[in-house]
Symmetry: C2
Subunit: 338 residues, 2 copies
Amino acid sequence: MNDRKKRILWAVVQDYVSSAEPVGSRTIAKNYDLGVSSATIRNEMQDLGDEGYLEQPHTSAGRIPSIKGYRFYVDCLMEPSRLTGEEEERLTHMIADQTTKVDEIFRNMARVVSSLTQTLSVAARQTRRSCTFNYIRFLPLDGQRAILLVVTQEGRVSNTVVNIPPGSSIDELQLLADRLNHFLHGKDISAADEQTILAFQKDVERDLTPFSRIFVSLRRSLAPKQKVYSGGAAGLIRQPEFQNVEKMQDILNLLEERDLLHSILDTAMDRPIAVRIGSENPDKSLADLSIVKAQFQVGGEVIGTMAVIGPTRMEYGRVIGLLYFMQKHLEHMLKNKE
Amino acid sequence: MNDRKKRILWAVVQDYVSSAEPVGSRTIAKNYDLGVSSATIRNEMQDLGDEGYLEQPHTSAGRIPSIKGYRFYVDCLMEPSRLTGEEEERLTHMIADQTTKVDEIFRNMARVVSSLTQTLSVAARQTRRSCTFNYIRFLPLDGQRAILLVVTQEGRVSNTVVNIPPGSSIDELQLLADRLNHFLHGKDISAADEQTILAFQKDVERDLTPFSRIFVSLRRSLAPKQKVYSGGAAGLIRQPEFQNVEKMQDILNLLEERDLLHSILDTAMDRPIAVRIGSENPDKSLADLSIVKAQFQVGGEVIGTMAVIGPTRMEYGRVIGLLYFMQKHLEHMLKNKE
DNA sequence: GTTAGCACTCGTAATGAGTGAGTGCTAATA
DNA sequence: TATTAGCACTCACTCATTACGAGTGCTAAC
């Protein structure tokens, strides 16, 4: 792969990304200053095709980059774009504006990035796998009902309204809760499973059946529910490669199958920003999509992930630039906040 | 509108709903036992066309119902379908299964109904406009932070982690909270706005500026956030009338514009189940969609709404039957639960 | 009032010629 | 030996033409 070939591959990707049309040798000779004629470029393109970096939709058409071509482009030829002033302002404003809820920021990130790049963007805070039990507290509500709170040491609260079993009082409930608190305090939240609670039931030598519904509520409120924020599907299907019914249906299925979005965000990453191009994606319904994924970390712990889903013909440099910028600023902001 | 015309209109709607193809006179003569020849039916159909109940896509095509035709069908010709055993089982199971979270039920309703009817279904619990303040409570978390809870008399809880201002303690915070509780107890939650809190600040003759962030958190956690659950867009765009790019984009826009979905659910209803056909919808982006909307009430209060969005060519009887069934069972279930 | 018969309409699918962008090869050139 | 000009060839795409058929609307007979 000599220097000229690299420059031609770069030019093909560049041109195809912006035009969505197969790129011909003449186009490159005209618009990219390589100092050689279209015939020379034609020869080089043929070689690039033989080596698997370029593809031809049909004999008499121009070339488009193959998965391998994009991969080479992303790994060796491309630079993350610098943001424009406008982009920079919009993102910093968004990150700085929401002083409280991190969830909100993730939601807005998905929206803003998708609107800037015409892609489908999804974001989610990481499920905290380690979540330490702090205490259970019952609060009064009215004669028959009480509010059951579970508080973790990280400051997360889940609440459920429970009926006070006939013959009990809220103080009695709290007494029991205190014993349970003592039992669970400092343990990981997963310890509060059915088994443990059954064991505890034996331990206190008391029939807990009247409270069983409370434990059901408890377990339910502890169940980790990771929210995936998504936005921009409307922008994505405006891209020329999705102008047909099947592709659009695929996108909509992807959007409604939250499981798949979850799994996209959940898969492990070997670097802070990773790119998966087309069929590099394990799921075959993502075979003609590319995904750029960024992890957000504070103090070594992953606190959220964002993925940009677009056509393989994606502005990789720009998307990576955006994600990099957000990573830097969001992590900085969160570190200061803690 | 004589009886035969009614039967012909009924047949046209029936046939078009299931076939999605313009219906010809011969089809009706063959498949619907009217006892007259296609020529007679042809004459009647011409009249129905003149009177605005039927339309012709082009001169040599069959007829399709007009908005007016559907309206007449829904108002005068149609009966809500009885559910099949399978449908009934699936719905009762769903309603009975989730013993706790009503939110979950609404989410599942949207999913199940859309999957049964190949429509886009949206559901939301009603924003409780009246929401009565109960009390504020601070709970310990660690040295620097506390958990601020706001509890309503209906048993809703919102929580935020707040920093304890330097020089204060959690007891001090609770003391202040108790005065605020006294001040706000039994009032509508909207009373806790900036104005009132400023007035209260004067009243207690104490500088509350160190607590300002807490009040910001408080207000934010009180902000009503109505969640709209949706499902089935993928099924809807599988319908033949949406097999083109523009229509699909419209659907996706509708899905991503949560505001519009909100407004669909929010608009007042004059009866428990209402039907809006095509251009009867105020929003013009809904002009070729029909919406069947049901309100769920417990004790005279509206507690949620569900809307089924489909093509004008919709199985009105079936959808209404489903919604009616759910209304009855869900309201029954909730009444018992309270 | 109803029906059979028939000419007429018009959307749709199939066919085929024409067009042009782009290639691949060859021979000339530096 | 690397580059370039020239040219035949390929193939998707467009557009007009044709054929087909479902369905109507009218007329005349029952």
